[in-house]
Symmetry: C2
Subunit: 514 residues, 2 copies
């Protein structure tokens, strides 16, 4: 029995909690991916040297802005940076040195210890889409997201075998006041799933609420000694760190909770139109952001992020699954590995308005690139639609199914004697077939990855069954998963304490809708 | 002016031919891909050694069958193999030694010399789907393919910027007698397109017809001295070489025309259920087939093929875009490079019945894998549907558009001073934007790959314009391309000679429908 289970059982609840745990349905969740394949690298060492040197030049000569945050400016000044107004110029090598205290990898604990994840190294952890204000499904069309949608996505994430993480703002529950919705979102992740999750970043006080609720869920001491949240800190590219995001990051770092420090870049708009130029800026921004994170608490867990995409220069729309986005992601992975930090990038990115072929091409391009670029934490790995404006129910389960292919690819190739199959080749010989041979019978169940969604039926059967396309199959799968959903057991005392916390917080302030 | 142009102009036709050439519309065709990125390799050197050694063991101990082909058995006997009945056992090292006379790369000439392709090395040549008996489009649904469909696909291939090759049996024209359809197919490739193409392999006599027609198109001497066809020779896995395919290959090799020697394997049925076992069999089969090709004419151009996919053990259906198929393709690419031969694999593979999200996920998985595995000749690179049973019009243009992403990826990352964009980063600075800066203005047109098909519009515009999905956009693109199609100029004397040849051949034998 692991530490986390012991801890949970030792707290209140007693008979009722134990009964709840006994009757819970076991949901299969794959272990996070451990790569047994190499990374794909598009940049030479020389190119990486140039980009790193240029990033240092940017930090030294141009600098970055820390906005509305005098305390941050003080920290930078003390650390040896040159501060003029809100501009922070960082002497060559300083940011990299500060980054060196960050851990190469860390464990993010889930309340179900079997679902804790190790972020970094050769691992890849998959989390769902984050941030869309809209949702879409076949029946309801495109509409503003609600808390009911949010809860459904958390349930689908919990039921998805290849998803290791419950994520954060899987959609924006626009029917709940802005200043209170983080409470409901956290409560949903904590009670409807037992996978790891993300904290709120929209206000420093909401980050603090996230920490407080985790202390209820995991125990105060456990939270101070362990990482139980990985939260998304966006940089306002180019080279601007706003007080809201930095304020949230300060709270998380001080509490030893993980942050993804991540530029959000549409190339050509928030960064140069070239791959090398964008990578230079990404590197400079990440160095500055991660260095600041470590100034807040040396050794705090942190992930180097790069959410970068290309642009359609005609419409100004971001474009996804493009070769340039792939180049940037491959390059950013190489830079993160040189820095010795976990890397966040890629996702089920697409610009399509519907979960159609465009969506799937773009998404598959991005997912494959994410695996091969050495991503350690893939946010948005399922459900993303329309440039991230929409969380799509059908696409969520379609993408989540495809994540299985990444697990299979990452396994690499077995080369033991059984895998060499020489006896089978001898047994079957020229002109025979392998369907019935001993080797096939012994291995076929585990030999091939199999979709839980896609159609493999003969044409005639498929036609008789209604000639369903992928989206239709996905509609049916969403329905099935939600129908079969059973809430994972949680000590009722903890559940009550969380509900009480949320109720008290909500009562303590008037609703605000912006 | 290149050799091929000179040759064509010097033959008959005169004024009419020159006028035809002057009035022809120029269609943009991208140069074949020249990779500036590394290959992705999943197997260690040790693993490759094991597979090669095991393949030699198979050839030596188990052997391969050359069926109904006494001349082949004689050739093998003379070369030093042990022949018992139709079983050919090849002493260790012999097949590899015979393969060593094949060229590392070769040029396949097109009648338009600007569209000639170099197959091998770091290049990748893209050709359309091959072999489906059915076609599908939105309007007509799924139906048996006709010669009219065939001609439309050749026209679409001619109009597709990212497609370098016109292919071969883009669909089976089932309305033309089996013993005559190769003539119409070749005539279509020769007259409706000016890209390189494939010859017939369904009978040795049809291979000879292909050579004869090429001699009309290119000139007899030119054909004997140059490669003008690349044709597909399938191996009947496991380890069987039938007389029809071998007979066709003998004709092509003797005429210095290229063959793709390619096992067609559904893993678990025609090869062991494991990746390593399948690769071993692929290697043994290719070694034997290519060695035999070189026995027919040392130095004949040849491509090592691997058309391998996984199987759904429930239905027995082949499955596509799966991780195991990727492992095999990556591994086969490594084996081909060790052998020093051009490599054929991958394609727009999918099992889906419709050009929907399933089709696109599976296709994108396979296309990306094809590029990164070092494929030199990608047959089936667009238009494949339903496990290859169907050539789909919409999917043809959808896939052909995605092939653009492979061109972009293969370019690699520019690292010159302009690409480093330091001046742009200095100019814009923290909080600015790059849309108007000089660097962006100078580079935006070539900075990002742009789809000619997919939707990048704002949601509102997209909705006003009918909320079209990818398939609907593709229907419209097919129509537009076919409407705008203009036949490439061809010397009327050659066109007449080709038509006469076809008419005479057709008149020389009764129709046969099997």
């Amino acid at each position: 029995m692991t530490e986390a289970t012991t801890r949970r059982r030792s707290r209140g609840g007693g008979g009722a909690a134990r009964r709840a745990e006994r009757t819970a349905v076991t949901i299969e969740t794959a272990k996070y991916i451990e790569r047994n394949i190499p990374n794909f690298e598009v940049l030479t060492e020389e190119a990486l040297d140039i980009i790193e040197a240029n990033a240092e030049t940017i930090l030294e000569e141009v600098g970055v802005n820390f906005v509305d945050n005098p305390a941050a400016l003080d920290r930078w000044r003390e650390a040896g940076a040159n501060v003029t107004g809100e501009r922070v110029r960082i002497p060559r090598g300083l940011a990299k040195k500060l980054c060196s205290t960050a851990p190469k990898q860390f464990t993010q604990h889930a309340r179900n210890p079997e679902k804790s994840v190790v972020i970094g190294g050769k691992n890849m952890v998959l989390a769902p889409v984050y941030g869309p204000p809209f949702v879409r499904d076949v029946e309801g069309g495109r509409r503003y997201a609600t808390m009911d949608d949010f809860q459904k996505f958390v349930k689908l994430g919990y039921m998805s075998k290849w998803l290791h993480h419950s994520g954060g703002t899987v959609c924006e529950p626009t029917d709940v006041p802005v200043n209170k919705r983080h409470l409901d979102m956290l409560l949903a992740h904590m009670t409807l799933s037992d996978k790891p999750f993300m904290g709120s970043v929209t206000e420093p006080s909401r980050a603090q609420d996230s920490v407080d609720m985790c202390e209820i869920l995991f125990g105060k001491e456990f939270v101070q000694e362990n990482t139980v949240m990985t939260s998304l800190i966006n940089i306002n590219s180019p080279m601007t760190f706003d007080d809201v995001m930095m304020g949230a990051m300060e709270i998380y770092a001080k509490n030893n909770q993980a942050c993804i420090v991540s530029p959000f870049i549409v190339g050509g708009a928030m960064a140069p139109v070239s791959v090398a130029g964008t990578l230079t800026q990404v590197m400079a921004e990440c160095l500055a952001g991660i260095a600041y994170n470590q100034l807040c608490r040396p050794g705090a867990p942190v992930i180097m992020g790069a959410m970068v995409t290309s642009i359609d220069m005609n419409s100004g729309a971001p474009t996804f699954g493009t070769p340039e986005a792939s180049h940037i992601t491959y390059g950013a992975g190489q830079l993160a590995r040189r820095l010795g930090l976990p890397f966040r990038s890629a996702g089920s990115f697409c610009g399509s308005k519907l979960p159609d072929a465009q969506a799937a091409y773009e998404t598959a391009n991005s997912l494959n690139m994410g695996l091969l670029s050495g991503v350690n934490f893939m946010l948005h790995s399922c459900g993303w639609l329309e440039g991230g404006l929409v969380a799509d129910f059908e696409k969520f389960v379609m993408d989540a199914d495809q994540l299985g292919t990444l697990h299979g690819l990452a396994k690499g190739v077995q080369m033991d004697e059984d895998a060499q199959a020489m006896d089978a080749i001898r047994e079957v010989g020229p002109g025979g077939h392998y369907l019935g041979c001993e080797h096939t019978q012994k291995n076929f169940k585990s030999a091939f990855w199999k979709s839980d969604l896609l159609d493999y039926k003969p044409f005639e059967t498929w036609e008789e069954e209604g000639a369903r396309d992928t989206r239709t199959l996905a509609t049916q799968r969403v329905e099935k998963l939600l129908t079969n959903y059973q809430q994972p057991a949680l000590d009722p005392a903890i559940a009550q304490a969380l509900a009480d916390y949320v109720a008290a917080k909500k009562a303590s302030m008037p609703d605000a809708f912006m």
